[in-house]
């Protein structure tokens, strides 16, 4: 009662719809770092390395001391991912754990740490668009936009409806001298423009495989305006040496 009595007779006319005082938004992570059993991804779905891959796995494991088999976890997860249509399901992780005699959690830790292990199914062609600073300066925002629009307006991280393409934004792939670039599957497509990007995607959609590398006619990362240095003939062995070495 006394508390009410002490209140001013007229309350301020401004009413607060929500209490803004010290509330903070949750910042959620961009991927889920826990496993959820789904119809397509659960431990009951069997996964077994193919004979050829098993041979490769044994070969990889043999590179390490027998008690440190666990060192082979990354190559083996990669092997599993390749066999499993480009993504690492929980069964792949469990299989690798069994093969390497590791507690499964130790494999999960690795698989969730590295972003190149896809823990959700991806489309047939995995398009990774680099948007790190050098590529961005060379127009990767545009390229990303083109890719997304060209694939029917999907957003980065999504897969097209026909499950042919998955687009993701990635960090630097180390091809900065040929920026902007995208990676499709295992191949780099560099020196992109809107047009060449669309052409590449169209080719993939038709089931062709365009030639990887710079799309601008450059051979590698040489100066696109032609060489400005080291244009003369390089000298061969023995030239300019004192006579006894000629």
């Amino acid at each position: 009662m006394s508390a009410i009595a002490r209140l001013p007779k007229t309350l301020p006319s401004r009413t607060y719809l929500s209490r803004t005082f010290s509330s903070s938004l949750p910042r959620k992570s961009d991927a889920l770092f826990v496993h959820r059993d789904t119809s397509y991804n659960n431990p009951k779905i069997p996964f077994e390395f193919s004979e050829e891959n098993l041979k490769r796995a044994t070969e990889i494991i043999s590179h390490y001391p027998p008690q440190y088999k666990k060192a082979a976890v990354i190559p083996l997860l990669d092997l599993g991912q390749r066999q499993n249509k480009g993504w690492t399901s929980i069964s792949v992780m469990n299989r690798v754990a069994k093969l390497l005699e590791m507690p499964p959690m130790r494999v999960y830790e690795v698989a969730t740490f590295y972003t190149m292990f896809n823990r959700e199914p991806i489309g047939e062609h995995f398009v990774q668009v680099c948007t790190t600073t050098p590529c961005m300066l060379r127009g990767s925002t545009d390229i990303l936009h083109t890719v997304c629009q060209h694939l029917g307006g999907i957003k980065p991280g999504e897969t097209t409806k026909d499950r042919k393409f998955t687009v993701v934004e990635v960090e630097c792939q180390g091809a900065c001298s040929n920026a902007p670039m995208i990676v499709v599957g295992d191949d780099f497509y560099e020196d992109l423009t809107r047009e060449t990007t669309a052409k590449i995607l169209d080719a993939f959609a038709k089931g062709e495989k365009p030639k990887p590398g710079p799309q601008s006619g450059r051979h590698t990362s040489e100066n696109s305006a032609g060489l400005t240095a080291l244009t003369s003939k390089p000298y061969g062995p023995g030239q300019f040496c004192s006579p006894e070495f000629q």
């Binding site: 027998p66 008690q67 440190y68 666990k70 590791m102 507690p103 130790r106 830790e109």
Partner: protein, 175 residues
């Protein structure tokens, strides 16, 4: 009822023994005698050993007699395992065993705890064991001393996580 009788009788006898031993020491139950005396650090202020013929205080203080028939525990509290700080674990503490019987009850309506035992919340802290013992003797309390355990932590080494082991690994370390 006979339980009560036994209790009363026990109280009576120990009161008489208490009186008998007024000038002598109170009984001491501890493993102290068998172990080596606590080594004193050089820098510490040494409290003089309490004279054994203390005049127990409650002869003149008028403290209730029940007080004397409850052994007190003298101990060094261990670190709270919930926290890593070791504060307050250097002091010696006296606390009382609880009063047997219906010394405590819960308020049936609110569940508040009530107690008829005025010593139950009392805790006395001392800088050294000797101080605590001296105080207990002065009060004429039966006391026992709980030994302090020594913490044994082997030298630890970050590099151990990455040590090469020639035989089969028994643990796969993480983090």
């Amino acid at each position: 009822m006979s339980l009560l009788n036994a209790w009363k009788q026990a109280a009576l006898t120990s009161r008489s023994t208490g009186l008998k031993h007024l000038i002598t020491s109170t009984r001491l139950v501890s493993s102290e005698s068998s172990s080596t005396p606590a080594n004193k650090k050089s820098g510490e202020i040494v409290t003089p050993e309490a004279p054994r013929d203390v005049l127990v205080a409650d002869v003149i203080s008028g403290a209730p007699t029940e007080l004397r028939h409850r052994p007190v525990r003298i101990y060094q509290p261990t670190r709270n395992t919930m926290q890593s700080g070791s504060g307050k674990s250097e002091r010696w503490r006296i606390d009382f065993d609880i009063l047997p019987g219906g010394g405590r009850w819960e308020n049936p309506l609110m569940g508040w705890a009530s107690s008829a035992d005025y010593m139950q919340g009392t805790r006395l802290s001392f800088r050294s064991k000797e101080d605590a013992v001296h105080f207990a003797e002065k009060q004429g309390w039966d006391y026992y001393i709980q030994q302090t355990t020594v913490k044994r932590i082997p030298p630890k080494n970050y590099a151990e996580n990455f040590l090469y082991r020639p035989s089969k690994l028994r643990i796969l370390r993480t983090k």
